[in-house]
């Protein structure tokens, strides 16, 4: 399924994507390492194998566009422009994390780059997206809001209610379904009626497009065209990106529900390798490509060291930012 379309593509653009994908990969590997070292004690959901979606979607968003994500949100957040130092500190629960270590991996967020948060509740970000897009419309801004969620999320009510909402109010929302075939240990095809996300969105009046989520070039093109339609005021769109989760569901998932051979086979369509191949065939110097990998690893190793060395948040943080009225610093009981 490797895209052969190298004509008309902007090599610099692809290189940017390639570098970003490596940064995501290296970030996830560092996060897994942190879990192994018991520096992260909660759940980590790595996005290894799905980096083309994060890159292809987020590099097409403006920095003032908004984004919401799921439990598997590191890649999206990084791609939207968040600082990996802050992110890794957040994962390790340290001061200097985006949320002072109060949210952690499942709630990774960086509002300064328009990333309104990962979410621990499958599907919950869909409504938040609809609402953010609603606000944007009320405020007559030309920003758009993107929501990324998994193929498991399309069986929850918000998929219907939130997408319907976006149609009814003709909102500037881009919905992206990362269809990796699984919801935790369950094959989504076994729990999903009909033809899946695209068909459901169409029935709700949302035009949708299905692309190979491991082919950065296809995603990049699809997202670009879809976003320009959304920004032009044509209402919401859905993009379904077919992919495969190369790692376990969480860092501690023994992953016994998939055949090893299936996973190994899937590695052959690793989106980073795919894009690397395209670039190589386009005669990009291999050193540049290799540097993306090594630079990313160097960067994320430093990020990891920084986070390890960072201090815990001061205990007073526990009582901050709950609410103004009825603030627990005045009355916690």
């Amino acid at each position: 399924m490797v895209s052969q379309k190298t004509t008309n593509v902007d090599i610099d653009r692809l290189l940017k994507h390639h570098a970003l994908m490596w940064r995501i990969r290296a970030f996830e590997e560092a996060a897994l390492q942190a879990h192994t070292e018991k520096l992260v004690l909660g759940a980590i959901h790595p996005s290894i194998g799905q980096e083309a979606i994060a890159a292809g979607v987020c590099l097409n968003l403006r920095s003032d566009d908004l984004l919401t994500s799921t439990h598997r949100g590191h890649g999206h957040t990084l791609a939207k422009g968040a600082d990996p130092n802050q992110m890794m500190r957040e994962l390790l629960g340290r001061e200097g994390g985006n949320s002072h270590g109060k949210g952690g991996s499942m709630h990774i967020a960086d509002f300064s780059v328009g990333m309104l948060g990962a979410n621990g509740v499958v599907g919950a970000n869909i409504h938040i997206t609809a609402g953010a897009a609603h606000a944007i419309k009320l405020l007559k801004s030309d920003r758009i809001v993107c929501s990324i969620f998994g193929d498991g999320a399309i069986n929850r009510g918000p998929f219907l209610e939130g997408l319907n909402w976006a149609v009814v109010f003709n909102l500037p929302a881009l919905f992206v379904c990362e269809d990796n075939g699984f919801a935790s240990t369950t094959s989504t095809s076994s729990v999903t009626g009909g033809k899946g996300a695209a068909a459901r969105a169409e029935a709700l009046g949302i035009p949708s497009l299905t692309v190979d989520g491991n082919d950065l070039i296809s995603i990049d093109e699809a997202v670009r065209s879809v976003i320009s339609s959304i920004r032009a005021g044509n209402g919401p769109r859905l993009l379904v990106a077919k992919t495969y989760r190369l790692s376990g569901h969480t860092a501690s998932d023994p992953d016994t529900y998939r055949l090893r051979s299936e996973v190994e086979k899937a590695w052959e369509s690793d989106p980073i390798t795919n894009l690397g191949g395209v670039l190589r065939r386009a005669k990009v110097d291999t050193v540049i490509l290799d540097n993306h990998e090594s630079n990313a690893r160097i960067e994320m190793a430093a990020v990891f060291s920084d986070a390890k060395a960072a201090s815990w948040p001061p205990l007073s943080r526990a009582f901050e930012d709950v609410q103004d009225i009825g603030d627990p610093r005045q009355e916690a009981f």
Binding site: V121, W165, Q323, D324
Partner: protein, 322 residues
């Protein structure tokens, strides 16, 4: 100073706030035609369908969208129609609205008001009559308001709209038509109780519709020579502990009356707080009067059996002061 109904007082407050701040908007089912209780009558005409937004029957999306909209520069006022329907949107309220500011370490705030008309309303039965205010007091991040008079509905709704926190705003359906004076006043601060009546002999704490029953009971008791102090909490989180503790320190006797199921009701929180912090002032057991742990029945005589009436309140007050 004008006389208006509880419903109109809220409409007046919302209208004034919407005129003041263009980022405020209201959303819910049937708002364009005034809302099911007429609380939005005429507002779509003034503010247009964008700011008085008719929504699909999608409570979860209504509340969830309000969260996203509140994080993105607007101040939504959400109409849930009946508090019972908010049960279709609890993830959005409790896991999202209440926690977002904290989980994101203060990167955002969620300034929204959720209007949840509560309580018994003749023969509305089990799914249209609940009083679940105590649930929300248990959730960090939420402010909980239960106005009992037109004046309070005006002033507290204003404060709730101006508040940067998610506010669960529970109007009592039985009070819509209640008339009362609404002075041209500033917003009423959240978290401050109203001493509805002063007295030396016992303290009656209440909120929402039941305050009126407590006041009626106090009149009866006065005729019998008992002076009850009646406190209308108005806001359940934060609640005015000082007002209650001061009163109990004076009277030595506490009775809490509310319409909600007594077990797990907010009366328990008031009682437990007083049993801790004003223990030495107590001269009698703390009494609570709430509904039995029974769903609300439809037939009027059965429904009436579950009500907290002035008679029940007065009877327990007598018992307490005997």
């Amino acid at each position: 100073m004008t006389t208006m109904t509880y419903a109109d007082a809220a409409k007046q407050a919302l209208t004034e706030e919407m005129r003041r701040d263009p980022t405020i908007w209201a959303l819910g089912e049937d708002l364009g035609r005034g809302g099911v209780f007429g609380q939005y009558q005429g507002m779509a005409e003034e503010f247009g369908p964008e700011r008085i937004a008719d929504t699909p029957i999608s409570e979860a999306a209504i509340l969830g969208a309000a969260v996203g909209a509140a994080m993105s520069g607007t101040r939504p006022v959400v109409e849930m129609r009946f508090a019972d329907f908010a049960l279709c949107a609890i993830d959005e309220l409790v896991n999202q609205a209440a926690k977002a500011r904290y989980m994101f370490g203060g990167q955002t705030k969620v300034p929204l008001v959720v209007r949840e008309p509560m309580g018994m309303w003749r023969s509305s039965a089990a799914q249209h009559s609940q009083s679940l205010e105590s649930w929300y007091t248990h959730i960090p991040g939420l402010v909980v308001v239960c106005p009992s008079t037109p004046h309070d509905n005006f002033g507290l709704l204003k404060s709730s709209i101006r508040c940067d926190d998610p506010v669960v705003y529970m109007e009592h359906k039985n009070l819509w038509a209640l008339e009362g004076a609404v002075p041209d006043c500033d917003p009423i601060p959240l978290g401050v109780a109203r001493i509805a009546r002063t007295g030396q002999d016992l303290t009656i704490v209440s909120w929402s519709s039941t305050c009126h029953e407590a006041m009626l009971a106090a009149v009866t008791l006065e005729e019998e020579g008992l002076e009850a102090e009646v406190i209308d909490l108005r806001t359940l989180w934060p609640w005015d502990k000082r007002a209650v503790l001061d009163s109990v320190e004076k009277t030595g006797r506490l009775l809490i009356a509310h319409e909600a199921v007594q077990v797990g009701g907010f009366g328990a929180e008031v009682a437990a707080t007083v049993a801790d912090r004003a223990f030495s002032s107590l001269r009698a057991p703390i009494k609570r009067i709430g509904a039995p742990r029974v769903p609300i029945p439809y037939a009027p005589p059965l429904e009436d059996l579950l009500r907290v009436t002035p008679e029940r309140i007065a009877a327990v007050a007598r018992e307490l002061t005997r």
